[in-house]
Assembly symmetry: C2
Homo-oligomer: 720 residues x 2
Amino acid sequence: MLFYLSTLITVATKASSRISSFLPQTRFISSLMAPTEETLRKALEGKLSAVENQANIVRELKAKSALKPDIDAAVQALNALKLEKSDIEKSLQSLLSGTGSDSREAFRQSVVNTLERRLFYIPSFKIYRGVAGLYDYGPPGCAVKSNVLSFWRQHFVLEENMLEVDCPCVTPEVVLKASGHVDKFTDLMVKDEKTGTCYRADHLLKDYCNEKLQKDLTLSSDKAAEIKHVLAMLDDFSSQELGAKIKEYGITAPETKNPLSDPYPFNLMFQTSIGPSGLAPGFMRPETAQGIFVNFKDLYYYNGNKLPFAAAQIGQAFRNEISPRQGLLRVREFTLAEIEHFVDPEDKSHPKYAEVADLEFLMFPREEQVSGQSAKKIRLGEAVSKGIVNNETLGYFIGRVYLFLTRLGIDKDRLRFRQHLANEMAHYAADCWDAEIECSYGWIECVGIADRSAYDLRAHSEKSGVPLVAHEKYSEPKEVEKLVITPIKKELGLAFKGNQKMVVEALEAMHEKEALDMKAALESKGEVGFEVCTLGKTVTIKKSMVTIHKETKKEHQRVFTPSVIEPSFGIGRIIYCLFEHTFYTRASKAGDEQLNVFRFPSLVAPIKCTVFPLVQNQKYEEVAKLISKSLTAAGISHKVDITGTSIGKRYARTDELGVPFAVTVDSTTSVTIRERDSKDQVRVDVEKAATVIREVSEGQRTWEDVWSTFPHHSSTATDE
Amino acid sequence: MLFYLSTLITVATKASSRISSFLPQTRFISSLMAPTEETLRKALEGKLSAVENQANIVRELKAKSALKPDIDAAVQALNALKLEKSDIEKSLQSLLSGTGSDSREAFRQSVVNTLERRLFYIPSFKIYRGVAGLYDYGPPGCAVKSNVLSFWRQHFVLEENMLEVDCPCVTPEVVLKASGHVDKFTDLMVKDEKTGTCYRADHLLKDYCNEKLQKDLTLSSDKAAEIKHVLAMLDDFSSQELGAKIKEYGITAPETKNPLSDPYPFNLMFQTSIGPSGLAPGFMRPETAQGIFVNFKDLYYYNGNKLPFAAAQIGQAFRNEISPRQGLLRVREFTLAEIEHFVDPEDKSHPKYAEVADLEFLMFPREEQVSGQSAKKIRLGEAVSKGIVNNETLGYFIGRVYLFLTRLGIDKDRLRFRQHLANEMAHYAADCWDAEIECSYGWIECVGIADRSAYDLRAHSEKSGVPLVAHEKYSEPKEVEKLVITPIKKELGLAFKGNQKMVVEALEAMHEKEALDMKAALESKGEVGFEVCTLGKTVTIKKSMVTIHKETKKEHQRVFTPSVIEPSFGIGRIIYCLFEHTFYTRASKAGDEQLNVFRFPSLVAPIKCTVFPLVQNQKYEEVAKLISKSLTAAGISHKVDITGTSIGKRYARTDELGVPFAVTVDSTTSVTIRERDSKDQVRVDVEKAATVIREVSEGQRTWEDVWSTFPHHSSTATDE
């Protein structure tokens, strides 16, 4: 049931359980490291008891007043053993602290410092000491986000002719009741029994386990293995299991050491009330998908009653985290971009599949995960044809997501598509893959691509009573064999009296196989036990109570609930990973400091170009204004910097914002254009400058082409 | 205080009181109609009493058994009077029902029907019977919205180098406490005392008054005048005044006729709780502006500590309406685009002001409103130079808003800039203008452009303790004369004992003028009465208790709170008015039906182009695909329609979506391009088609130019 829950709620799992499983401590990475660690723990155990034994020997010798040389020899042996023990401890410690983790932390710190200092983002409501899990995008961050969303629209909505919709965040309870969020969009929480402070139960257990593994060198290898197992299973623990482990390990409230309550579910939706009466509960949507599902009928009609088609939505979603961690990756409000591609369950081919089939990238199929292997490069077409990826349409979207992410600037070697394990997937889902991006926090799920079968449309059909179905008209009527179940009400009435209605309904609701089994049993034995769920018991059905037979009917159309394939993008997470993947430092020309650079592709760069007059001078400033005007007209975001700072400092400032090109005005007839990463400069006529910048920043021209077309300019001491 | 409230809360007034004042019934329009209506009412009154008199005469004659000819004559006179009365009644009725209002209603119905049928918008959660005041944008609506926002970014953010930010919707209480929303973002509500159903108090009173005026022909002209006065004053009524009127008129609950409670304020923010404790109240933001104000310090720094600069934000805002009306104009969740332009209060000039000064458009200054005139065309530069518009920067934004709206396709003759009346404006505001667009609901406020002085930054400075100020470094230190107030504590202690502290604080807090007055009074009279608010009384201050003198100090910089000029755009309202302004119908070629057209400028059209193969034919479809591919690559949204429907029907379908251009593939070498409004067609080579479409839809080329360049194609019967 928990598995069901964890995949029913796409965003829930996205934002909570799944990611944490891929932090360095846990199953996959640790399983690779396990042999060494285990060896060391075993060796340490051995050495510890050896030290103890030897210490006893020394003590006994002393007690017996043995000869000094004997005692000295024993002490010497003891010291040697202690030295060996200490060596093993050191190895274990260095292994556990994770050689990489310090440098990862340091790297993250320098990225985050740059991001905050240059206002890529700002903790929201900072002057009021902020709110955990809420962040603003400042000017450059906001521009990056807007560029990512524009490209998303171009790459998905426009290229695939998707139907984009825009639904409200405020959502009435009934919708989220149908989707399952009201009942199941929860995290388990414990409370400090004295102060009432709330904690996520799994976080406390995870912290305890990690601390234990990393700091407690006396941990036996058996105990270490048990704790690792707990970490691996943690996401699947029930409330009871979590509570039991917390008790067993004696975990208390982190700050106060007070005892903790039993875990209980906390619904993660922000609740509110619609209208003044207080009688209409509503929630801030936890995902945008439901707005699309409830509109299926209209959208299907808009598409000319034809399948397949995709609807898409970009918008805010909300998740009232118990205690947000991991900075920009775990927030209480975030932008989602979601696609619901509706398709005939009997035909999941995709007309444009061939366009992506030859892509090759890191995939991490279920089998490789279970057998402890790592992700490997697979040709998408092979993964689909071998059945590793369930169907063409799912494969097509995996390919399109790969293209989207890498074109944004995500490093393809730190991007993998991980298939959900059987226990991660909802019972109804056909297949599910996450685009995971590796960053300093580990592998982060940034896009989920799931074939959710007919689940969502069915749930809303049932709750609303409005059939959300598609029709396929047959070119000529088809003869269809249909099972007809006819309960004989008179007999049933005599036998079941007041319960008759429930029995009739249960008989009519039988699936084909069930009915045929009953038919066979009635024919052979004359009666059969039949479980009526609504009565909560099994009744006896006799041959006289029901007839079951097959009939041939003419049908003019097939009515069915479409399957939905859902690529769901956590935009904020993608952007954060992009920040990490494009960040690097390089020495300043003088070599006296490290300068920060974001190597954003022009597509996402917040500003495409800066324009500097080399020195403060009215003529140069006029040229700068002229170029600026042309850039504005062409819709190229840029910045004019007329401060008197050295040009080197101005370049550094602009590199730190990831601006790909800089125009330096050092004459009234021609200017230099500098490319950020190579620092190469060319000389271009003033009139041509804006056009070159536009072409190169819109991708109509490569820098290489510009470099080979225009005279090179070698930077002098004043330049950089 | 109510005025203060109604302008403090920009969105509040935008979404509630202001608009309703401009429905046909109320002050401005009715003042023009009043003479005729009044004449009619007076005539009717006279005629009614004449009828009564004459009826009495007839009755008396009959009672006296007068002669038949006398009685007949009297009856005839009575009938004549009745006829005259009935004529006047008819005139009054036709006047009151508003000749225009029926056709306005009908026009709105055909716009709204088209919008709903073509999924420009959809009532949200329709399959669950919807939620009042929540709407989805369907595919074409969503595309229009996205185009409007893109253009807004280009026209304001990019062209003005604004700092765009993106803050969360979830907002902690402290922020909205400081802004005044927690205390004052309210509407007055009454409850049905038996069922608990809630109503907006002003709506009930307004409905009653309108009904009375329109339906009750026996209303005396005095009573009618009174009711009109109530309608005009309604927005300014206090809770007590509203309650008194509701009682006086005996207004009851509309459905049940039950008595109503007294009016009480209902806060219009959606409330929620941040985090799991339930102890941190939060709200869904009612406007985006506060997110900018709280970031002022960082943004000022980002701008190199220089003024002026503008920050901008696009995002969702929320308003928990008591009972939403007016369809898409009064909703519970909407997109705002807001600009906060921070400027030195001592220099409100604008460097680009000259670029807009010559614009001439409908303005409706305060004076014209008060004196009952109508809006008139004024040159913006004249309005600023005459002081009608308070300052250049405010004027600059009014001009930019005018350009923005008209370029979107808003009819300039149904757009006016209305200045707030003195009683509509906050006490701190320097000036405020609304861009109002006329649609079938009347004049609708769509953009507010206010000079809010330093109010918002001061409010957050005070609440947070973080100074939100700007600095102006003097090139050399300035000698500044400063007033120094020194309370003599010993004397004050003797005189006021325990109250000394309050008196000292009050003395120190005196403004310059107050202090100088006190100094003069003390010098002349030796003592003076002084009101100490914190004590709630006036004390006597003697000469010995305080010294007041001026001192000359050297200052190196000026520290001040910037003024903010705030253009705030209700995107959904602008879009709805755009729908009305661009909608028209025209007869089909056969003349048998009226076809709907939206004449969207290409800039906002949801789809720029449709591509039709003339007949179903593989060769034509391949040409269509080829053109489609080029359009996609160029980022031009388009649709290929390969249904076998007649080309005329397909044109009609595409006109109804406001698609400006249609490419019809009727050969494999050349195609026709048709312009929506003129229905003119040109013939263009297949290879050139996509380029022509791109140029003409991106505005690099006009249709006139295309028309004069390419051979004309005259449509045949099969075409249209």
